[in-house]
Subunit: 300 residues, 2 copies
């Protein structure tokens, strides 16, 4: 009997598709992290590569100001480059559009992308346009660079590490998902001054993403739900499950954690940094996360 | 009154979206050519970057073997890297899929992409999955490299240049559009042995693409319709208008053209190379192209 995507779920689909992929030369990290990392053994600077899309009626609705959609489309990919400590560089944009779409909508989309590109030093160097017989699709592929010694993956966490999160979580659908600020500066400051063990950006919700970081690090985790910083109006459950926070989640040795906390306040006084739990031995995960993050293919 | 995409057409939409784009540093060629070209002034090797998509019911139908769709999705981008004389390197894949899609379809898609990746030495280094509330959407972003002295753009053609095309054109919808071979080897041989003035791959049909090459080179063109090599079953009109040929179109000095012709037969005995016209002064375009290529947003 044939199986449908909804029965499998996103993580298992991705694992299945990754099997047997020809990864090619000079690939340090392939599928499975925020970005691919490419570099020869002696390169001091590594290349990052990321692809990401937003789809109408999944990630935005047509009624919303398209400048915000453009901002979101580019900033989602920027957030992934940031999550490795990287600097975004060059983007290429694919748009598939219904033929009856208002031209002003497309103009606004590009205005939003130009604004994000200028703010984060990204060059928009190419694109592709196609017709869509259905929803609007926008894909952003983004390159970046990172110094090898500053590059942080998901997989370096160790039992005992403190887990931190930037900003506040939950209720992003109220508007933040369209206007969030990717944490490029914060991640670069962190990776330049401290030895982070593991980092990723929160896109599918803490409840989906923390287990991914822990699994990539061959660790379990303990989460302290009461400590999770919540956006106003968000419950703890929402802060865990909602997704689209685009905040940084990282793991460091506890001693480094204390030093980061005191230096953080001086550098980013308006953005909270919160210790929300720890990595543990794999067998010792305390299943305090009952809510799950966003799964594109979960049964409705 | 608001304007819709269908009233504008693809080329004018692209020109409109390119206005005011922040292009970033080290960009040799941004939007408007087959790929973006990136490199510092003294780099011997340049980086290429391309994004491309295929959309269900525009570029393929669901009934077709999905391995052929995967092959096509990756090979379209490979063809653009080839068109600059480049070597494809690393790909990242975005797929947006309906939730009720059969898993076997996705497995086949990836089997086709793996096959193309292995044949052309491409590493598939990352991806993104999302749900689509409509058609299947597949985006491929591909990097490549090219020696600076072998890199060919659209813009270097000169009046008097001979125009050549590889292979045969037209009637690609009969099947070739799913199984074509991107001309990576042929383009590398051409660029290493001869000084091509301009090159591109034929994706929207000779009738759309030749005027683009001529315009990028600030030239006009004369086409000899009787000389156009046609796939079996294709009329001259189809060979000009159908699109999805994925053959090389290039311009060279006439003397180089003769040398290429004789060396070509020895190296690629099974693939025709045909002189189909010439570049001329801009004012002297002979409007022998009455048919037009494929325009995604042209009125139905």
């Amino acid at each position: 009997m044939s199986k449908r995507l909804a029965e499998l779920g996103e993580d298992r689909l991705v694992k299945r598709l990754m099997k047997g992929l020809p990864v090619g030369s000079n690939v340090i990290t392939g599928p499975g992290d925020d970005c691919a990392i490419i570099g020869r053994p002696r390169d001091r600077k590594l290349k990052l590569l990321k692809t990401d899309c937003v789809v109408e009626d999944i990630h935005f609705t047509r009624g919303v100001d398209s400048r915000r959609v453009g901002w979101k489309a580019l900033c989602r990919a920027i957030s992934d480059i940031a999550a490795m400590g990287g600097e975004p560089e060059h983007a290429v944009i694919t748009i598939a559009l219904p033929r009856d779409l208002d031209l002003g909508w497309v103009d606004g989309l590009y205005a939003g992308m130009r604004k994000a590109a200028r703010r984060f030093g990204v060059g928009i160097v190419g694109g592709e346009t196609a017709r869509s017989p259905g929803p609007i699709f926008i894909n952003v592929a983004l390159t970046g660079t990172v110094e090898r010694r500053h590059c942080v993956q998901r997989s370096g966490g160790e039992p005992g590490d403190a887990i931190y999160v930037t900003g506040r979580l939950g209720a992003s659908a109220g508007g933040k998902h369209l206007d969030f600020i990717p944490r490029v500066n914060e991640a670069q400051w962190l990776t330049r001054h401290f030895r982070l063990h593991a980092m990723m950006d929160l896109s599918d919700g803490l409840g989906a993403d923390l287990p991914r970081l822990a699994a990539a690090s061959a660790c379990g985790y303990r989460l302290e739900p009461a400590s999770i910083p919540k956006n106003s109006g968000a419950s703890v459950e929402q802060a865990i499950s909602d997704g689209e926070d685009y905040e940084l989640l990282f793991a460091v040795a506890p001693s480094a954690g204390s030093r980061i906390e005191s230096a953080w306040c001086r550098n980013f006084p308006r953005l909270p940094l919160t210790r929300i739990g720890e990595l543990v031995q794999p067998s010792k995960t305390r299943k305090s996360i009952t809510a799950r993050g966003f799964d594109h293919f979960a049964p409705a």
